[in-house]
Symmetry: C2
DNA sequence: ATAATGATGTAATTTTGTAACATTCCGGTA
DNA sequence: TACCGGAATGTTACAAAATTACATCATTAT
C-alpha cells in the first residue's frame, strides 16, 4: 500500500531486471516527474522498448497497470527522500549534505531489504537462541556494532561479551566450547585477525556466525553467514552506510530470538526495563 | 505546482460551484482515495453527472485534464501521516518480521529527515571542528553510538575518547577545559549520570553538545543540542530505531567537519585508509 | 544443431478521455 | 405567458491510451 520508497526499490532491483525492463527503469529514474506525466507510448519510445514492456515493468513492481504505477510513482515523489545515491560534494552546505546522508542511508536499507538472506537469519536465530554463551567480535566501525549487539543480547539470560582487542579475541577464540556461539562482524570479511579468530573458534567446536560480505574469507570459516552486499564506498568523505544495515540485522536477530522464546520472556524484559528507572530523572510530564 | 491543499481548495470552493460540479466535488471529497483510482466514467456515474462535466470540473481546478487532476489529487493525499509503523507480532515468522524492522527503521529515518535541526547541526560542526580534544559519553545503547562516533572522529587529527563507565565519566567531566568538547548521547536525556556529568563539564568551561530529545534535562545543560524526537517504544520486543537516527546524525557531523576542513584533509584520510590495508587479506578479485 | 523456454514485440481490442455539437434550463423582457 | 439569449449540462463521435492475445525472436540446455 504505502510505497514511499518506490524509486529506491526500482533502483535496487535494477540489476535483476531484464534488458528491456532495465531500459524502462533507467528512463524513469532519470526523470521520474516527467514519467508521471507521460503516456505509456511516450515512455516506451523514450526507453526504446515496446508499450507492453512498459506495462509488464509496472506490474512487476506491484502496480495493477500503467496508470496505477504512475499514481504510485507520483505519490512516492512527494516525500522528500531522493532515490539515487547522491554523493556529498565539497561544495555542499548544511542545507544539503545532511539530507543526502539520510537519503543514502535510506537507500542502503531499502536495497538490503530487497535481498534479505532470510534462511541465514533463521538459522542464526536458531543458534543464538540455544547459545549458552555469546561472543561478539568486531574491529573498527564494526566494534561499535558488536557493542550494540552485546547490549541487545544481554537482555536474554545469556552471558554475552564483546572484544575489540585482537589479543583478547584470540584468547577467547581458543576458549570456545560446543555450547558457545561466536559472532563475527566485518564489512569486508577480510580482516586477518577476525578470520583467524573465527578459524580458531571453529576448531573448539563452537558455532561460528558471521555478518559479512558474501564469499569472503570470513564467510568461509563460518557455520552460518548472513551475507550483505559489499557496497563500494569510493569517496573518502562519504561515511559508510553498511554498519547501519548491520545494526538493523542485529535488531532482526534479537527480535527473532525474542519471538522464538515466546511470551515467557516478556516479564523478564519488563524487569530489566524497570531496573533502569532509578538511573533516570523523572520525565517532564510525570 | 505543489498542490498539497487541493482537497481543502475544493471544499472551500464548493458553494461557488455549479450544480453538477458540486456533485462531483462531493463524491471526491467523500472518498478521495477511491477517486484517484477511478476512471472518469465511474466517477461521473457515482456523481450522477456526465463525463465532460467531470472533465470541466478538473480543469476548473487548474488541471490539464482528468488524468492530471487525479495525479494532483493523489499527491495531495500523501501528506500527513503516511508512514505507518508496522509492529512486530508474536505470530510473525522469519518471512515477515525482518521486513517490518527494516520498514520501521526507514520510516524513522524519513521522519527524522523531514525535521532535521539544521542550525544545531551547523553549530555543533563549528564546535567540533575547532575542538582540541573530544569526549563522547553514552550509556547502554548510546554507548555503542558513542563508540561509533569515536571511530569516526578519530580520523581527524584530534584526541578522542569514549567512556561508558559512570565513574570515569565524572572524572573526565571535571578535567575539562575551554578547548574541549564534551558530546553526550542519550535517547531520553534523563539519564542521571549523563546530566550530572554534563553539568560538571560545563562548569570547567568546556563546550557541551548533546544529541538527545528536546527540552530534556540533558538538553538544558548543553551549549548546543541536536534535538531528536523521543519516539515511543511501547512494545518490549520492538527494538529502538532511535539509535539508527543518532548514528546518521553522527555521520552528518563527521561529514560536516570534513567539509569544513576542506580538501587539505583528504590526503590524511587516504593515509589512514592505506594503513588498514595490511590488516586485511587481499580481496578475491585482486 | 535443435528443441524448449522465456523475453520481447506486433497487432487487435477495449477502455478511457476529450472535443464538438446538441439540448436543456433559467432569467429577463415584451 | 410566451419567447429569447445565454449559460449549464448532456450526447455523440472521435482520438488517444492501455491491455490482452498472439507471434517472433533470442537464449540456453540437451
Amino acid at each position: 500500500m504505502d510505497d514511499s520508497t518506490l524509486l529506491s526499490t526500482i533502483s535496487a532491483a535494477l540489476p535483476k531486471l531484464k534488458k528491456s525492463e532495465a531500459k524502462v527503469a533507467k528512463v524513469i529514474l532519470e526523470d521520474p516527474d516527467t514519467a508521471t506525466r507521460s503516456s505509456i507510448a511516450v515512455l516506451a519510445a523514450a526507453a526504446g522498448v515496446s508499450e507492453p514492456s512498459v506495462n509488464r515493468f509496472c506490474k512487476r513492481f506491484g502496480a495493477g497497470g500503467f496508470p496505477d504505477f504512475k499514481l504510485r510513482l507520483a505519490k512516492s515523489l512527494v516525500s522528500g527522500v531522493r532515490y539515487m545515491s547522491r554523493a556529498v560534494e565539497m561544495s555542499d552546505d548544511v542545507e544539503t549534505y545532511p539530507g543526502k546522508l539520510f537519503d543514502n542511508t535510506v537507500n542502503a536499507l531499502v536495497q538490503a531489504r530487497e535481498t534479505l538472506p532470510t534462511s541465514a537469519i533463521a538459522e542464526a536465530v536458531d543458534y543464538l537462541a540455544q547459545a549458552k554463551r555469546l561472543l561478539f567480535f568486531g574491529l573498527g566501525t564494526s566494534a561499535a556494532v558488536a557493542k550494540d549487539a552485546e547490549h541487545k543480547f544481554f537482555r536474554f539470560n545469556v552471558p554475552v561479551s564483546t572484544y575489540e582487542d585482537p589479543l583478547m579475541m584470540r584468547m577467547m577464540a581458543t576458549s570456545g566450547g560446543v555450547a558457545d556461539v561466536f559472532f563475527f562482524i566485518s564489512h569486508t570479511g577480510r580482516t586477518k585477525v577476525l578470520v583467524e579468530a573465527a578459524a580458531m573458534a571453529r576448531e573448539t567446536g563452537a558455532i561460528v556466525i558471521s555478518l559479512t560480505s558474501a564469499n569472503s574469507a570470513l564467510a568461509k570459516q563460518s557455520h552460518c553467514t548472513i551475507e550483505l552486499a559489499e557496497s563500494e564506498n569510493t569517496e573518502e568523505y562519504l561515511p559508510m552506510t553498511s554498519r547501519i544495515v548491520q545494526l538493523v540485522i542485529i535488531d532482526t536477530l534479537t527480535t527473532g530470538v525474542t519471538l522464538k522464546h515466546g511470551e515467557k520472556l516478556l516479564p523478564h524484559l519488563a524487569r530489566i526495563k524497570e531496573s533502569l528507572q532509578d538511573t533516570r530523572f523523572p520525565s517532564e510530564e510525570e
